[in-house]
Symmetry: C2
Subunit: 188 residues, 2 copies
Amino acid sequence: MKVSRAQAAENRASILASASRLFRAKGFDGAGITELMQAAGLTNGAFYGHFASKDDLMAQVCAAVPPPGPWSLLAEGSGVGLDGFITAYLHPDHVRNRADGCLLAALAGDAARQIGPVRRRFTHTTAQLADLLCAVLPGAAARRRDRALSTLAALVGALTLARAVDDPALADQLLRATIASLRRRGSA
Amino acid sequence: MKVSRAQAAENRASILASASRLFRAKGFDGAGITELMQAAGLTNGAFYGHFASKDDLMAQVCAAVPPPGPWSLLAEGSGVGLDGFITAYLHPDHVRNRADGCLLAALAGDAARQIGPVRRRFTHTTAQLADLLCAVLPGAAARRRDRALSTLAALVGALTLARAVDDPALADQLLRATIASLRRRGSA
DNA sequence: TGTACATCAGTGAACGCGCGTTCACTGATGTAC
DNA sequence: TGTACATCAGTGAACGCGCGTTCACTGATGTAC
């Protein structure tokens, strides 16, 4: 049964949104086409009317703008500064909620094993998020770039390890130690 | 054809070693039983004489001591200090060579999606590596623990992002910015 | 504005494939005498 | 020490299953008159 063009566009957006959440929660391999389509309220057969392949979908998910998760806090005019962002990013809620969390942290491990468009888009998104971080950092532009990159690495590393670890106490220590380390840099 | 007990023990160790390398290179889902056994010079059927399941193998790989990769540099008496270790860990060679690299960085993303023994062993290994890092840090014991954890997060995050990214220049910037950031902390 | 029909988004079953796992079999090992 | 045989590590084909993908079909949409 055909649907209106507007509905088809909505469906496509719905597939992308569901896929982004499910990929972040379960990884690229962990979420299948049938599951993704069910989450979007459709059946598996309709998938290939919207995307050329699963790889195509993965690539488009990686290129999602605006980047989902805590990064929306850094969007212009949100009023949340660097410290507020770091606190939100390294919050235990972000450890638990993978589906709504940072795409970079959730899929960096998977992205490293991909080739072609997926990795290219992931790279572009990484650079974009570094720029977003750069914009809220103080100091000279030359130093800010390096500080944005090392901050991004610290954030992603701490969240990734906190998620991988089975022990909530150790996870919290990782988060708190990284928050303290990033704050110390800010005041130095 | 039966082999001697000594040979069987060697085979088992060979499966573990091959699996560790292949898992690090391709992830848990990326390496199949047949491939793992071929890499160990055996056929797929022999696998279940050594391990209860693929999950069992994954758990044992996560518990590998001594931890493989650059961590051997921190073993007692190697003479490599903190700075040397950081330089080796965040070296472009380590970005390229996943199979022989840090297990934590290679499998943290996958480990977060596992349950039971795999995650438990991964957690234990993470704590062990933090202790290893703690031992070469200067300063009071209380501060060293936090610094070890934030350093671990920064190392894993920088390596993970450098691997995920398609652009060698961006990867090198991530590594160098993180090295500089960790050095600055050391001298402060 | 109403009608007739071509278009095409979505359905759901089917395809080949590779996965983790099982199992009947093989033949060298290691033990009992 | 030498022989007979039970043990069991390894073989390789087979199993069911879920995956990504294809396709004949359906029926509402949107166009042509």
